[in-house]
Amino acid sequence: MTDKYEIIPIRTRILTIHDNIVDAILEYGSDKIGPNDVICAAESVVAITQGRAKRPEDFKPCFLAKVLSQLFPSEGSIAGWNSMQSLMDVEGKYRVLWAVICGFFAKCFGKAGVFYQMAGEQARLIDDVTGTMPPYDKHIVYGPAQPVKVAEAIKLATGCYGAAIADVNDLKRSCVLGVSAGVDSKLVEQILIDNPFGNASQRTPICIIKNYKK
């Protein structure tokens, strides 16, 4: 699928909470964007520009967060007191508790992933400390808010065919969180499967799918 589309990664400076993702796209990519293109932005960078990177010290873990966090594998992003509290702050602690209970019983019957379906989108999107490049390596980073609205704003500002906010990694995991009208999220996921955003140090959080609309 990737072979059928030309993908242009756009190198930027490190984008921070002081940046606006639409302005950044215009600053670094406006000369490369055409009317038939789809612009893709990495979800963690969109989230950071929305101010959704928080220091773990900013959270006050409640009793429930301290208990439930210990039930998750240590490699996960909500396995610590503070990261679990970060999830509870946005999704609600009783929703998370209910998701844990249902997830436990579902797992007893051999069905995995129920917790992540029930606990809200942020359960899948939160990055714990060390999950993001400096200077956000010491932060807990949420997933972006209102990704569809962001995609629409990018489309409107750039005049391109459409935009997508995507979560892609080198392990062939590609998930589109939001697209503007007219863009097929499943197709974009397939196009981005080889992670054109690269790793964090390559600083290419934006890429352009050229001539998406044939």
Binding site: K66, S74, E75, G80, D128, T130
Partner: protein, 183 residues
């Protein structure tokens, strides 16, 4: 009817018992056990020497003997060298991990895996104060205590801990003399 009531009572008791077991499990669960092994630090090395400045490094491991990974978000060294004790030079310090060296004085957070250790490189840069030559200043250096602060977290509370070591005056004066002979 009484069977139904009994069944509900049993389910409630099971839920309470389950909750208690989970709470005890969460509380008893071991976490990381991280420390900087200052006793295993290497001898000081002189890496550069000019008229105004002398730079030394030493290495020591940060170790996690616990059963959970730890996220180490910051480490820095605080040399205790007050001018009341020694006024010929001012010391600046920096800490890096040996596998991820940087030249920007930024400490990049990393995961210290359970039952593992990572080598830390501690750099001391001595700058001669006005009117002093660094080689002479180093020959008059005093014993200097250093605290290594580290900020980390595993799956429980965030912590800031510190471990100490002492840089002996003899180490420094010997190195500066030796380096001088080579130059």
């Amino acid at each position: 009817m009484s069977i139904l009531v009994n069944l509900i009572m049993v389910l409630i008791c099971l839920a309470i018992a389950g909750a208690i077991v989970i709470i005890i499990y969460a509380w008893m669960k071991p976490t990381d056990k991280t420390s900087v092994l200052t006793s295993k630090r290497t001898v000081l090395q002189l890496t550069s020497l000019t008229d105004k400045e002398a730079v030394f490094i030493t290495e020591m491991p940060i170790s996690n003997t616990g059963v959970e990974d730890a996220a180490i978000t910051d480490i820095f060294a605080r040399p205790y060298l007050p001018q009341e004790q020694y006024k010929q030079a001012t010391v600046y310090s920096n800490v890096e991990t040996s596998n991820r060296r940087r030249n920007d004085n930024y400490f990049e957070a990393f995961i210290l895996q359970k039952k593992s250790q990572v080598s830390l490189i501690v750099t001391f840069r001595f700058v001669a104060n006005t009117g002093y030559d660094i080689k002479e200043a180093m020959k008059n250096m005093v014993d200097m205590d250093v605290a290594i602060y580290y900020n980390g977290m595993a799956r429980k509370e965030i912590y800031i801990r510190k471990d100490f070591f002492t840089v002996k005056s003899a180490e420094i004066s010997a190195l500066v003399g030796g380096a001088d002979n080579d130059r």
